[in-house]
Amino acid sequence: MITLRTWLTADTPTSRNHARAIQAYLSWRALASNPLTVIGLLIVVALVVFAALAPLLAPQSPIAVDLTERFIPPGAQHLFGTDEFGRDILSRVLYGARVTLYIVVLVAVTAAPVGLLVGTVAGYFGGWVDVVLMRITDIFLAFPRLILALAFVAALGPGIENAVLAIALTAWPPYARIARAETLTIRTSDFIAAVRLQGASGARIVLGHVIPLCSSSMIVRVTLDMAGVILTAAGLGFLGLGAQPPLAEWGAMVSTGRRYLLDFWWVATIPGLAIFTVSLGFNLLGDGLRDVLDPKNS
């Protein structure tokens, strides 16, 4: 263990991978030194674990209807109680983590790269490329996110995939904006001039030099936005346009539980708390990542 530690803190790395490992280790140490970030990270890790192990952890099937067991309050028999169809809420929340994770991952892997690419290309090449790409971005930005997502879902039909698609379509323009602004400052720097003078092509410069510098602030931004994405998905679910019953989705669960809120508080509150916790987790993690990754702070 001691040898691994000295290897990871060595001043003179001996290979490409060694250098990378040291860099990763130092970032990790900086990240771990902030307790709030660690809490955020634990929440996000817990979300992943619960989603992965939902079938093992859930005491019942999330869609097993038992009308004799309607509205049982949280207790020994059902840890989080049951809902209007007698379904176990704990099981539904655990399976709901899968839906949430699915949405988050899908939005992150679609919207962020698209925004990053559009922004850096527009920023680096400038001229008409910039004009065309940024006007398209402006058009998307001109609509409120939830309204645009609503329109998409209304056009494509309700369902979890379409909700994700709608969110991703509305999530990339702000990323493009940020990436472009950063690219504009990076573009004029000497290290870009230097690589241009080595005969590097535009594509090589954007992919190898500009994007790596923009991507850390992008990771931060995406993490911070995840709370918003979860809430939008929950909002779509709440409006009945996201996940369709009987699929367990936290927003939809809050939506149905709302009707019984005064008499049976747990039906809406438990999934509400799940949304709150996961959003908070992503926000805390995002704040911590910003401190570690954002070059402007160092």
């Binding site: 790395p13 490409r16 250098a19 000497d190 290290f191 690589v195 080595q198 005969g199 590097a200």
Partner: protein
């Protein structure tokens, strides 16, 4: 080696256009070190950027090694002419290791033997193999500038354009870098164009120099004339006097040349 005729560079268009360089001519022989001296806004760096291909908005004619230069440069040009920048903190990518910085030009030009070339390039600029996998933030200003020089030389160019290569370094580090450049020039028979505002550096490094002001060459002279203070133009003389240090009487007589 280098021939510049009637070079003009204009920034912007229409009424707000600024003529940064206003029709200048000079020649640099192979193996020579030519100094371009001037104050900020004189256009000296702009000349270098136009020559290097970083700024395409120029008119006139430029030739390097007998080849006329176009707005857009070929890959072969970049193997012939390389540049070292002023700010060693800004000229290295903050997320790339020294190894990555030096490997990139080799990959672009499809050169083989990457490991050997990188180790040799580092050795030539006085950095041991221990520096190979470090990031720029783990290096001092002088070490970064050595990496920048190694990057410029790894393509084995014949011409090196130096844009204030030591002006953001401490004087003791400046001496090391200037000595390094002199040695590399001797060993490889390089041709240098050195842009600087520091007449003492020009006197040490160059054979001839041109003094620029407001986009024009005011005077071209040899370094031995410069050392004697034998300037024909009042502007050069004023610059010369000011670089000797503070002098109360002379400071009050300074005038602005346009």
């Amino acid at each position: 080696m280098i021939e510049v005729q009637n070079l003009a560079v204009t920034f912007g268009e229409g009424a707000s256009a600024i003529r940064a360089v206003n029709g200048i001519d000079f020649r640099v022989a192979a193996g020579e070190t030519f100094g371009l001296v001037g104050e900020s806004g004189s256009g000296k760096s702009t000349v270098l950027r136009a020559l290097s291909g970083l700024n395409p908005d120029w008119t006139g004619a430029m030739r390097v090694d007998g080849q006329a230069l176009d707005r857009k440069r070929s890959k072969a040009f970049y193997k012939l002419v390389q540049m070292v920048f002023q700010d060693p903190y800004g000229s290295l990518h903050p997320r790339h290791t020294v190894d990555h910085v030096l490997a990139e030009p080799l990959t672009i030009h499809g050169m083989l033997d990457v490991d050997r070339r990188i180790e040799q390039a580092l050795a030539e600029v006085g950095l041991g193999p221990a520096f190979r996998f470090r990031y720029p933030h783990q290096l001092s200003g002088g070490q970064r500038q050595r990496v920048a020089i190694a990057r410029a030389l790894i393509l084995e160019p014949k011409v090196l354009l130096l844009d204030e290569p030591t002006s953001s370094l401490d004087v003791s580090v400046q001496a090391e870098i200037l000595n390094l450049l002199q040695r590399l020039k001797r060993e490889r028979g390089l041709t240098f164009i050195l842009v600087t505002h520091n007449l003492a550096v020009v006197a040490h490094m160059c054979d001839r120099l041109a003094v620029m002001n407001a986009g024009r060459i005011v005077e071209e002279m040899t370094v031995s004339d410069l050392r004697k203070g034998a300037a024909r133009q009042a502007y050069t003389l004023q610059l010369f006097n000011a670089s000797l240090g503070y002098d109360r009487a002379k400071a009050k007589e300074l005038i602005t040349f346009a």
